[in-house]
């Protein structure tokens, strides 16, 4: 009796030991990092693929091109299932998307030892668009029904306080009986460009519209957010997508606008316009009628779902077949669009689209070196960061992120 008990205990002990070792197995590359104190870290947000209890975990890594990081027993837990991230002035902001409720935004910087260091929290609204603008984070809470006024907030990244706010009547802005729903906010020169979609905002078809064939960009002065004008273009449908950035100011000061052509009415795709990239020349607030980069044509029947700028006129696009058009689809094929030369090249080296479960939608990372972008891809086996080479239109599997999908990739310099 005594013997068997002891045996049992030893077996349990050994298995526990084994289990404990297993748990420690995936060594974070960060831990082996530069002993002199690395000067920067990549921040990766990951959330488990599960039907409840889902939270994001913030992980750090020195390298996106190889190794493994895991959320098992590791990472800073973020409250709330849906969180979004933005980096400005070397601070990392973790925003809560709280079903219309206000909530706490957590701010981090990177300590000299390369650890994420929590700075003070502040209270914010659930916002549908946010962007780094100058020294601020500009955020907008946009009512999709009911209330007619969107609220914008200007958060100063130094004081981590909201320093200004204001209202925008989205029904007045749309001026067509529907409401303007900003797809995103982007700093352009000294101004803020806010492309929007026109939505009905009611009647079981909130995001439907009877104006599927126009693009609008509201131009605001900054920091006082006065509406200067609304630029329109009837060659494409709206710019950007819900919760997705659709414009980029490049090195030349020109602004490129990306339209997927995915407007709907009562759940049906109703836009007759192709997926295309248009341009607003440096210093102007008009679309360049001579520039029209037809992506539907160039890709032979695909439309773009997101874009990541890598610099020097090159964008990594996620692409989806046009016969399966949808306003909220995730493109699982990748292409490089050179907006200077209007060239379109498919990327090789990413998993086959049928093997891809998820692609990180926003918050992919590029050092803006004109060559590389880092994109999160979840296959049926694990999640990886792929390094996409925009010059050669190739992709290579890099860092593995164990434990779930990748929701954001960013970078901080240590203090």
């Amino acid at each position: 009796m005594k013997f068997s008990n002891r045996l049992l205990l030893s077996v349990i002990g050994i298995s526990l030991l084994g289990w404990a070792c297993d748990k420690e197995d995936p060594i974070e590359p960060g831990e082996e990092g530069d002993p002199t104190g690395s000067s920067s870290k990549y921040i990766i947000a990951s959330s488990p693929i599960a039907s409840e209890g889902v939270a994001d975990y913030l992980l750090t890594s020195d390298d996106l091109t190889e190794g493994t990081v895991s959320t098992v027993g590791n990472g800073k837990e973020q409250d709330g299932t849906y969180r979004y991230y933005v980096t400005n002035k070397n601070k990392f902001f973790s925003l809560l998307y709280g079903q219309g409720n206000p909530g706490a935004v957590t701010t981090y910087d990177l300590s000299s030892s390369g650890e994420l260091n929590e700075l003070s929290d502040f209270q914010s609204e659930t916002v549908q668009a946010f962007a780094a603008v100058k020294d601020d984070i500009l955020m907008a809470k946009i009512p999709r029904s009911g209330d007619e006024n969107a609220l914008w907030y200007r958060l100063n990244t130094e004081s981590i306080e909201i320093v200004d706010d204001g209202q925008i009547n989205v029904v007045e802005l749309a001026g067509n009986g529907e409401r303007a729903h900003f797809t995103w906010l982007t700093q352009v020169g000294e101004k803020v460009f806010a492309p929007y979609m026109s939505i009905k905002g009611c009647c079981d078809d909130i995001f439907g519209t009877q104006y599927p064939d126009s693009a609008w960009i509201a131009v605001y002065s900054y920091p006082d957010m006065q509406l200067e004008k609304v630029i329109t273009d009837d060659r494409t449908s709206f710019i950007g997508r819900y919760f997705t950035s659709g414009i980029e100011e490049v090195e030349t000061g020109d602004v490129y606008a990306f339209s997927s052509g995915v407007a709907t009415n009562s759940g049906q795709n109703t836009s007759s316009k192709p997926c295309a990239i248009t341009r607003i020349p440096n210093g102007t607030t008009e679309f360049d009628s001579d520039y029209f980069f037809n992506i539907s044509e160039a890709s032979d029947g695909y439309y773009l779902t997101t874009k990541t700028y890598v610099g020097n006129g090159k964008f990594v696009l996620t692409m989806h077949k046009e016969e399966e058009k949808g306003a909220y689809t995730v493109g699982k094929e990748f292409a490089i669009a050179d907006v200077y030369n209007q060239t379109f090249t498919w990327v090789t080296g990413t998993p086959a689209p049928e093997d891809i479960q998820l692609v990180t939608q926003r918050n992919n990372y590029s050092p803006l070196d004109g060559q590389f972008a880092y994109v999160g891809i979840t296959t049926d086996e694990s999640s990886y960061i792929y390094e996409i080479d925009a010059i050669n239109a190739t992709a290579r599997q890099g860092l593995e992120v164990e434990g779930g999908q990748i929701t954001a990739i960013s970078k901080l310099e240590s203090n």
Partner: protein, 790 residues
């Protein structure tokens, strides 16, 4: 001890057959105060240490006695013993009937009284806990807080009086556990008649069926059912009480019944709750302009008033040839609830509120021995016309310092709404029992639910979507068979047929042109069969074993199928949730000696549940949508021990451990094992318990006046908000230990009662949900008047 006594009894009995004349005897019938037979009561003739026990009909007989004067003692666990002196003459069979009343302490709180309630012997085989509310009648508890003292059950509340309560039983939550009132499903009763506002005084007892639900509670309960029993044996009484407590809390209850000589019966149950709920919380307060937090401020809740008023009136007849009981009634109620916070304490509101009412005609009918001897029929019907309304029209943002920003134009705090809807729910239940013979009986039950939601929002009169049909019909029929194999062994088997048909409409655009909107009406139907078995065996007088199993289903609720039009989008493709529920239990009744009694009860449960309906964000991340996403197992244990010392002390404790694990091995689209496969389900208490001690002092200051001092402790182990295995820097819901005390002074055998209560005496920060702090120390005083047999 007990064995020896029994052995001795047996020997005495055996010997007596030869020693005495057969004709001299005592016999009789033992019942409880409701007239139900008590099975297994001990009858003892003190002078000769001879006795026996009552049979399954409550009858006993002690034969072969010599003439003389005897002291007859009748005892049964949980009941006050009765003693009677008799003079027995030669060749006389003396008829002696006893009515035992529940002892003052006997079944307080969470005592397993399955055995003590003769009525429940039918369901003995089920894993059932019963709260006898007798001792709670003088407290200010609502039904929810009373349930919280049962093993396996956790009530989680988001705030004070009237706050949202979520109920969990052995790892099942929300709609997976069904509630009944007198056997009638409480589905879609609305916010005016819920666990968080029904006072414990309305209930005579509360039964909690764990995992396996008898068919007479016809329902699609996945993980168990709670039945609130209000009906008592006909009799005239008045029970009225009023309490006042901290946070300006007023509660009153009046229960009265009148039974006339001609069989006329009238019942009134009326109750009211009011509270400002302005208790203090500790929270990071945001600056109204800058969003900057002032950390850890102690502030009062300021927009959390709750009140409800409910009246249940019934009139009818009893003991007529056409009905043993027939009642027509109506339930009328309303409630008003201010919403102080969102899902986290930092999101604070100052004007948003909800209202609801209930207008529900009811009908109840019961007839025993209908056509055939032993054929008992029960019929219930009700229809709820009540409305619910969400009112959010003030364009402000508040902070915890009660400062606010007024914004221009029409707006809201969260989502502008005056949406009002009515679920128009109807329920009909029918239940029939028939004993084929002494050992075999069958029962049949059928429950019919109808649902027809209609709603509108005066802010958006053109939104015709709200006027589309959202109809659902649900019918559950059960067939049960019970076989009493022997006095010691009884088994029930049952089949349940689930049927649901849903009629729904979907908007679509036939041409693609704006305004050309049409609605597609569709019907979907599902049919499923569930089944189960429950068996119990008495090894001897003091040890009982139980085992039960059910293949259970929960049909999707109308909200899940159709959405709530606010945050939840409908999904008509849902499948029922299903589970295999296993229970194994043992009870042990031990009389250490006439003064000390101990009962021990332990259960092992296993649940293998599939296809849980869980929310996920819909494609455009604008609403949540329900889907069959999740499998869960739970291997759990709960145990309870209770000790009685005479009529003076009752003490008990229970502990529940549930190992609720994620059994979803592969998430959709994944070929590798989920990283959280077999991980403990987060945000769910897994180890918790209660302990209580009560002291009963009789004849304090005057004869017939009793003083009761009670103490109750609740313990909940800390648990993680999100998956335990993930992350290193984690959020949790801290350990919860709360202590409540109460003192009751009852005058004239319980006619007048005064109770002083203190809850959370240590003023600890208590949390059931992440960040949502519950009330601190609170006091209340309750006055109650009770008079029986008017």
């Amino acid at each position: 001890m007990q064995y020896k006594k029994l052995l001795l009894l047996g020997i005495c009995c055996a010997l007596s057959i030869f020693a005495y004349s057969q004709n001299t005897a005592v016999s009789g019938h033992i019942t409880d105060t409701e007239g139900n037979p008590i099975v297994g009561a001990t009858i003892l003739l003190q002078e000769i240490s001879k006795g026996g026990s009552s049979d399954s009909k409550g009858n006993f007989s002690i034969k072969n006695l010599s003439p003389g004067i005897y002291t007859v003692e009748v005892r049964y666990i949980g009941y006050s013993p009765k003693i009677k002196k008799v003079n027995l003459k030669r060749n006389q069979t003396l008829k002696l009937d006893f009515q035992l009343s529940e002892s003052a302490y006997g079944l307080e709180a969470v005592t397993i009284s399955a055995k003590s309630k003769a009525k429940i012997t039918k369901e003995l085989a089920y894993n059932v806990d019963v709260i006898d509310t007798k001792q709670l009648q003088n407290s200010t508890l609502d039904i929810g807080h009373a349930l919280d003292r049962i093993s396996g059950v956790r009530i989680r509340e988001s705030g004070g009086v009237g706050s949202r309560m979520s109920f969990s039983l052995n790892g099942f939550t929300g709609k997976q556990v069904k509630f009944f009132i007198d056997g009638v499903p409480m589905e879609n009763f609305g916010s005016s008649f819920q666990l968080n506002n029904i006072p414990v005084n309305l209930a005579q007892r509360i039964e909690v069926y764990k995992g396996v639900v008898p068919i007479w509670l016809g329902s699609d309960a996945l993980g168990g059912a709670v039945n609130i029993v209000t009906s008592k044996a006909p009799g005239s009484y008045i029970d009225a009480s009023y309490s006042y407590g901290s946070f300006n809390t007023h509660k009153s209850v009046i229960n009265a019944e009148y039974v006339g000589k001609n069989g006329l019966i009238a019942q009134i149950n009326a109750f009211q709750n009011y509270s400002d709920n302005n208790y203090k919380v500790n929270v990071d307060v945001a600056d109204i302009n800058t969003g900057k937090y002032y950390p850890e401020q102690e502030v009062r809740r300021f927009h959390d008033s709750y009140h409800n008023e409910t009246l249940i009136a019934k009139i009818g007849v009893v003991n007529k040839s056409y009905a043993d009981r027939m009642l027509f009634g109506v339930t009328l109620g309303q409630n008003y609830s201010e919403i102080q916070t969102g899902a986290r304490l930092v999101s604070v509101f100052g004007d948003w509120h909800r209202k609801g009412n209930i207008v529900m005609p009811t009908f109840k009918y019961k007839k025993n021995d209908l056509i055939l001897d032993g054929l008992d029929l029960t019929l219930n019907a009700n229809y709820n016309l009540g409305k619910e309304q969400n009112i959010d029209t003030v364009n402000r943002r508040y902070n915890w310092f009660q400062e606010y920003r007024q914004y221009e134009g029409e707006g809201s705090e969260r989502s502008r709404s005056l949406y009002k809807y009515s679920n128009n729910t109807g329920v009909i239940t029918a239940n029939a029992n028939y004993p084929i013979n002494e050992r075999h009986s069958i029962s049949i039950n059928s429950v019919f639910n109808s649902f027809n939601r209609k709603g509108s929002d005066e802010l958006y009169p053109k939104n015709d979507n709200y006027d589309q049909p959202r109809k659902s019909i649900k019918n559950i029929t059960g067939l049960g068979y019970k076989y009493e194999i022997s006095e010691k062994w009884s088994t029930s088997v049952f089949l349940k047929h689930f049927h649901q048909s849903n009629k729904y409409s979907q908007s679509y655009n036939p041409t693609g042109n704006w305004g050309d909107l049409a609605y597609l009406n569709q019907v979907n139907t599902f049919n499923t069969i569930g089944y189960g078995i429950a068996s119990t065996y008495f090894i001897n007088e003091i040890v009982q074993l139980k085992a039960s199993y059910e293949k259970s289903y929960r049909l999707p609720e109308t909200d899940e199928l159709y959405g709530d039009l606010v945050n939840l989008q409908g999904n008509i493709e849902l499948d029922p949730e299903k589970s295999d529920n296993y229970n194994l239990g043992a009870q042990y009744f031990l009389d250490l000696n006439p003064h000390n009694q101990i009962t021990i009860n332990g259960n092992i449960i296993y649940r293998d549940a599939r296809d849980f309906i869980r929310p996920r964000l819909n494609n455009n991340q604008t609403m949540q949508v329900m889907d069959n996403l999740f499998n869960v197992t739970n291997l759990g244990f709960d145990g309870e021990i209770r000790y009685f010392f005479n009529d003076l002390v009752s003490a008990g404790m229970n502990l529940t451990y549930q190992n609720v694990r994620n059994d979803t091995k592969y998430e959709e689209g994944q070929s590798v094992e989920s990283v959280v496969y077999r991980d403990r389900i987060p945000n769910m208490p897994f180890l918790f318990g209660n302990a209580d001690v009560s002291l009963f002092l009789d004849d304090v200051f005057a004869t017939g006046n009793t003083l009761t001092v009670g103490y109750n402790m609740l313990y909940v182990h800390a648990f993680y908000l999100y998956w335990p295995s993930l992350g290193s820097d984690k959020l949790d819901i801290p350990e919860q230990i709360s202590h409540d005390i109460n003192v009751t002074y009852s005058i004239q055998n319980g006619k007048y009662n005064i109770t002083a209560e203190c809850r959370n005496i240590t003023n600890d920060r208590l949390y059931d949900n992440f960040s949502l702090q519950k009330p601190g120390r609170s006091f209340s005083v309750k006055l109650r008047y009770f008079i029986n047999n008017l």
